[in-house]
């Protein structure tokens, strides 16, 4: 479709204006309110509003303050048609359609309106026309292009057939919505069927349960009836049994009272018997008591006698012990004296020996002292002691040395006789031995007959001679001092002196030995004191001897032990030992005989031992005496006690005798024994009676009867209770059954089951249909979306191509299957359409429309009308947009309405129309 011309009359502020459109781009310039927007509005009103309408939209375009009807006239070519369409509204409304080609036709009024609509519907996609029109202020929106069939057709043509199945899809959607919500959830019958089924199933289950319950009641009723019958029969039987038991128990009562009575009699008889026995026993006790006490008196008597006898014996024994102790004491005194005597004898003997030894020592000491004095004197007479001798020897040596030295310096003469002639040297005749000597003086050698040779020494060195002289002088002086004439004599003297010294030393030793540390005076003093002591001893011994000899002549007296000595005394005597005559003899030193030291020591030892033994015996005897005395005291006490016991027993015997006598006076022993015999017989009789009664009782088996009675009673109670229960349950069940029966459970169940069956059938059918439509819809939609994705491609390419001109080479958009631009990518950044700036959104919206216009073939298309757009665009963008518009103008009609003449000045092939305000 192509717009050729629009004429407005009395339309808003326009009195009359005509705009003629180019085939490509037409820019309509006019200030606001002059009617530039009115052109788009006029076209719209012509299309949509009848001339008779008085709507607000129509009133809005009426000129202000003038009573004229707004009028619009449009000339256009669409399809094969070439037409002019004119309308005036409100005041004198008209509608005129003048079809000029292909077949001329003039219509007016509604006919014109309808015909015009028909022509448009036939040739133009009205949706496309609407979509491509941009009303001022709406430019930011994207057109809804997805359902524009012209565009789809165009895209199909470019991308291959996709088919147009909107109606089918709508039908499928309608069908789908019958079963599902837009969100895909079951709805309507489909949704309710499942719930209904569940509910009905629950109801059916409840009814079946109730039916089963009723059946159970029936069964229970049956069982209960059987139980009731059984219990009824049982009740009769148990009652009879109870009566039998009760009768038997009543019979038992008389037996029981007889038993009780006999048991009481037994008790009474036993009590009487017990009393009689007790009386008899008391009498016997009295008699026994008396007997016991008589015996006690006798026993006490015996005991006293025994104690008295013992006391006498103890008295005797004590006496004996006393005398034995005295004897032993005398013996001890005697023995001690003998021991002292022996000791004195030993002392005298020892003093004698000591005196002899001491005297000997004094003698030796005196002899040694004399010898010593003599040797000492000899020694002192000889001056040549060791030192003198050594000095002499030294001096002699010195002299010889000096002489040797002088001789060595002298001429040496050596002569040996060669023949038998005597050779004399000096006075000496030379022997066979050669003569060798120094010539110290004139020496004459004569061989008788032959020769006389005098050899004179030369002059010897002076010092040597002097030294010899000195030595000789010293030697000779020493000899004089020592009183000797030569060395040899000196030596002899020395030897004598040494011998004397030895003797002196030996005497010295002997003296020291004899003295043994003491001085001679001391020894002599001791000797003298010993002599004195001995003298006194001798005197005492003499008196002793006298005494002894006197005793020997005295007749021997035996100890005075009278009568029968007690054992203690015998022991004491044994302990004292028997001094016996042998010992006395041994100890007795015979006068005139010199007893040896050993004898004396032995005697003393025996005497000492004897004395010790006598002491011990005396001690023992004394102890025995003490014991005997204690025994005597004890015996005396025993006697006293025994006497007392005897007195007490005698007193009690008297009392017992009195009691028994009194009892026998009251009742004789015989009567008591008779009473016991009578009571015993009575007891045995009553026991026999009880035995019989008990046997009769037990023969009646009372326990069994009691148990049977208990059981019978309990059974009656229980059976009654159970019978009551069964009867009650019978009523209950009857009521319950009656109640259930009135419910008509079966009918209700059938109804519910029928409803359930229907619901299930409905559900199955609905479910099947729902699944079918679900699958169909899903399949169709997935294929449609796929197809749309394919035909979206050319649309996107168009937009990209134009956008790259305006925005740059890296411009890209993504387009949804509904042909809406979803995002823009520029400079590597992808921004969702909704987040873009107002200007960018407007520009993309315009590009989308232009792409749409380009894609749709010219004869099927509609003009792109842009009302006051691109207000947001900067000049550079506008320049580039102009390039695009120019390009689009080659294939599609574009009408640009603007109030700024410069905005689209750069569009090359644009025709500019100016609207001027009236």
């Amino acid at each position: 479709m192509r717009l050729v011309r629009v004429t407005l009359r009395n339309f808003r502020g326009v009195e009359e204006a005509t705009v003629t459109f180019a085939e490509g781009v037409t820019v309509v310039v006019g200030p606001n309110e002059t009617g530039k927007s009115s052109i788009a509005e006029a076209i719209r009103l012509l299309r949509t509003t009848k001339s008779s309408a008085r709507s607000q939209a129509v009133r809005n375009v009426q000129p202000v303050g003038r009573d004229v009807g707004p009028e619009a006239e449009i000339e256009l070519q669409t399809g094969p048609y070439d037409l002019v369409y004119r309308k005036r509204w409100l005041s004198r409304p008209i509608a005129e359609l003048d079809v000029r080609a292909p077949v001329p036709q003039q219509l007016s009024g509604d006919d014109a309106h309808q015909r015009f609509d028909a022509i448009l519907a036939e040739t133009v996609d009205v949706d496309l026309w609407n979509a491509l029109e941009v009303i001022q202020g709406q430019a930011l929106d994207q057109p809804s292009l997805a359902h524009i069939s012209a565009l789809q057709q165009a895209l199909d043509d470019s991308a291959g057939a996709t088919g147009d199945h909107d109606a089918l899809m709508a039908a499928v959607d309608t069908e789908y919505e019958h079963y599902f919500t837009p969100g895909g959830k079951p709805r309507g019958d489909y949704a309710t069927a499942a719930a209904t089924i569940a509910e009905l199933q629950a109801r059916a289950a409840a009814l079946r349960a109730r039916s089963a319950e009723m059946d159970r009641y029936v069964d229970e009723h049956h069982t209960n009836e059987q139980e009731f019958s059984r219990l009824s029969a049982l009740e009769v039987e148990t009652q009879a049994r109870l009566e039998r038991s009760e009768k038997a128990v009543r019979a038992l009562d008389s037996l029981r009272s007889e038993l009780t009575r006999t048991e009481d009699a037994v008790h009474t008889a036993e009590t009487g018997h017990l009393q009689a026995v007790r009386d008899l026993s008391a009498r016997q006790s009295l008699a026994d008591d008396l007997r016991g006490r008589s015996e006690a008196v006798e026993k006490a008597h015996v005991r006293l006698e025994a104690a008295t006898t013992a006391h006498d014996a103890a008295g005797r024994a004590a006496e004996e012990a006393r005398s034995a102790a005295a004897t032993a004491a005398d013996r001890a005194t005697e023995a001690r004296r003998a021991k002292d005597d022996a000791a004195e004898r030993v002392a005298r003997h020892r003093d004698l020996a000591e005196r002899d030894a001491l005297a000997h020592r004094v003698r030796r000491a005196r002899d040694a002292g004399t010898a010593q004095a003599r040797a000492h004197a000899e020694c002192a007479s000889i001056p040549v002691d060791d030192a003198v001798l050594a000095s002499l020897t030294e001096l002699a040596t010195t002299l010889r040395v000096a002489e040797g030295a002088r001789d060595a310096a002298a001429t040496r003469l050596s002569i040996r006789a060669l023949g038998p002639q005597q050779v004399r040297v000096g006075d000496e005749v030379l022997s066979e031995q050669p003569y060798v000597a120094a010539v110290l003086g004139e020496t004459r050698v004569v061989v008788e007959g032959v020769i006389d040779v005098v050899v004179s020494p030369g002059t010897p060195p002076a010092d040597l001679d002097r030294r010899v002289d000195d030595a000789r002088e010293a030697f000779e002086a020493a000899l004089r001092t020592s009183g000797t004439e030569s060395l040899e004599s000196a030596r002899v003297a020395h030897e004598r002196r040494r011998a004397a010294a030895a003797r002196r030393d030996a005497a010295q030793t002997t003296l020291a030995d004899a003295l043994d540390g003491a001085t001679l005076d001391e020894l002599e003093v001791r000797l003298a004191s010993l002599e004195v002591r001995l003298a006194s001893l001798e005197v005492r011994l003499a008196s002793l001897e006298q005494r002894l000899s006197a005793r020997e002549h005295q007749p021997e007296a035996s100890p005075a032990v009278a009568g029968d000595p007690g054992p203690e005394a015998a022991v004491a005597a044994a302990a004292a030992g028997d001094p016996g005559p042998e010992a006395a003899a041994t100890a007795d030193p015979r006068p005139g005989a010199v007893p040896s030291r050993e004898d004396l020591d032995l005697t003393y030892a025996v005497a000492r031992e004897d004395a010790a033994e006598a002491d011990a015996a005396a001690e023992r005897a004394r102890t025995a005496h003490e014991v005997a005395r204690d025994t005597l005291a004890t015996a005396a006490e025993t006697v006293v006690r025994a006497q007392q016991a005897l007195d007490g027993a005698a007193h009690e015997l008297e009392g017992a005798t009195a009691r028994l006598g009194a009892a026998r006076d009251e009742r004789s022993d015989d009567s008591l024994e008779e009473a016991v015999a009578v009571a015993s017989a009575s007891r045995e009789a009553s026991q026999t009676a009880r035995q019989a009664a008990r046997a009769a009782w037990e023969a009646a088996s009372p326990e069994t009867l009691a148990m049977e009675l208990d059981n019978a009673r309990a059974l009656v109670v229980r059976v009654d209770a159970e019978l009551d229960t069964a009867a009650a349950r019978r009523v209950e069940l009857a009521t319950l059954l009656e109640d259930r029966a009135t419910e008509g459970i079966h009918d209700a169940l059938i109804e519910v089951e029928a409803a359930l069956e229907r619901a299930q059938t409905t559900y199955a059918r609905t479910h099947r249909s729902a699944q079918a439509v679900h699958l169909l819809r899903a399949t169709l939609r997935s294929h449609r979306d796929e197809a749309q994705r394919q035909y979206v491609a050319p649309f996107k390419e168009r937009i990209d191509r134009m956008g790259q001109v305006v925005f740059g080479a890296d411009f890209q958009v993504t387009v949804g299957t509904d042909l809406a631009i979803e995002s823009r990518t520029l400079g590597g950044r992808t921004v969702p359409f909704g987040s873009l700036s107002g200007g960018a959104r407007e520009q993309l919206g315009v590009l989308g429309r232009l792409a749409c216009a380009q894609l749709v073939a010219a004869d099927k298309g509609a003009p792109v009308i842009l009302d006051d757009t691109m207000g947001f665009a900067d000049p550079d963008r506008l320049e580039q947009l102009a390039v695009v518009l120019n390009d689009v103008g080659r294939t599609a009609q574009v009408v640009l309405l603007t109030c700024q003449p410069t905005r689209f000045a750069s569009v090359g092939n644009a025709r500019t129309a100016r609207l001027v305000a009236s």
């Binding site: 057939a161 009723h221 009857a734 796929e786």
Partner: protein, 386 residues
């Protein structure tokens, strides 16, 4: 002596698969059948009617059925003797003991409450074996006959029993089965003339003189010959027995089997259904096998939709139906599908073919047919547009 033997009235019974309206009619049909039995009694001049058990569907019925039953029986000119069966035993909940029953039972209606011979009319006595519970453990009929002496001269004796006959019961050891040889012996011994039984809803002659009367109105799809009563003639002298069936039932439960492989087959089925009379008293189960094109299936659906409104019940018997629906070359050719719609059609067709193949492999009836259903729907929706 002529009498009418019937059984298994199952009063109060209905069918859950029926719609509300049909169910009510079916319920009423049982009472109507009873009325017709009365009419037959008049026609045949029978002396009495004996009902051999299961007079009522259940002891748990709404007691209203009692009044309706008595109303139907009131027109009977002869005594009616009722035997309690396994559905309506003489237990604690027995409908025969309901107040509504005891208070209003008409004089000519009798309930056999024990096995004592009941003289229904002069010259005829009935020995019944009523049920006292749902689970008897003995052959009740044998028990009832055990003390019988030979029939007196001129008296017809009828044994009325209920339960499974031993010769029909696959479970030979069933405790309560009616032992046919024993019963035969009773008849042969002259202790009775004829035995009529209830429980089997199809009219059946077990042996000469031993009959199942069958239900006077159909109750289930499986029954062979329901809807009859027996008109029995007994000559007490010769002991001859003649039995004639009289149909009183009006309802039919039928299974219609068809193989459908073409549109012609569909038309034939439609014709067959159309030819069935008394559709409102007919329940039909369709057992359909074969393979139909989508358009033929649409025709079938349409035909069944139309017929379904006429019949008391018309439905596919899913277990015995195996119908594949696959588009043929012509189904969608005229529908102008193109582009994505054509692609979707192709995909669904492929799925439908694989479904059909799967059915063939599994051999099971009534399997998944969602793609086939989707195709049918597409066919309908796309076609509806033109």
């Amino acid at each position: 002596m002529r009498f009418i033997a019937t059984a298994d009235w199952q009063l109060g019974m209905t069918a859950r698969f029926l719609g509300d309206e049909a169910r009510a009619r079916f319920h009423q049909a049982r009472l109507d059948a009873v009325r017709r039995i009365g009419e037959v009694a008049v026609e045949t001049e029978a002396s009495f009617v004996v009902v051999c058990g299961d007079v009522f569907e259940s002891n748990q019925l709404d007691r209203a059925i009692i009044a309706k039953t008595f109303e139907a029986l009131r027109a009977f000119p002869v005594p009616v003797v009722l035997l309690p069966g396994n559905h309506d035993p003489l237990d604690a909940a027995s409908i025969y003991d309901a107040r509504a029953f005891l208070d209003r039972v008409p004089d000519h209606v009798h309930v056999l409450r024990d096995a004592a011979p009941f003289t229904v009319v002069e010259g005829a006595e009935i020995v019944g074996a009523p049920w006292f519970g749902k689970h008897p453990t003995r052959d009740l009929v044998a028990d009832a006959c055990s003390g019988l002496l030979p029939t007196p001269d001129g008296v017809v004796r009828v044994i009325a029993g209920h339960g499974v006959a031993s010769t029909l019961n696959p479970d030979r050891d069933a405790l309560a089965a009616i032992d046919v040889p024993t019963l035969t012996k009773v008849l042969d011994g002259g202790c009775a003339h004829v035995a009529v039984l209830g429980d089997r809803h199809s009219t059946t002659e077990i042996e000469p003189r031993i009959w199942y009367a069958g239900a006077p109105e159909v109750t289930a799809r499986v029954e062979d010959d329901p809807g009859n009563v027996l008109v029995v003639d007994v000559d007490p002298g010769s002991r001859d027995v003649s039995v004639v069936r009289r149909r009183v039932g009006r309802w039919s439960f039928d299974v219609v089997e068809e193989r459908l492989d073409s549109l012609e087959d569909v038309h034939r089925l439609a014709d067959r259904l159309r030819a069935i009379p008394d559709k409102e008293r007919h329940a039909i189960w369709l057992a359909l096998v074969g393979t139909l094109s989508t358009s033929s299936k649409a025709s079938l659906d349409s035909a069944l939709d139309d017929a379904g409104d006429l019949f008391a019940h018309l439905d596919l018997w899913e277990r015995h139906t195996d119908l594949a629906v696959l588009p043929d070359d012509h189904d969608f050719a005229d529908l102008g599908l193109s582009g994505f719609a054509q692609a979707a059609l192709d995909e669904l067709t492929a799925q439908a073919r694989s479904e059909a193949a799967a059915h063939e492999v599994s051999g099971e009836a009534g399997p998944e047919t969602v793609a086939q259903d989707a195709l049918s729907l597409l066919y309908r929706l796309a076609g509806a547009r033109r």
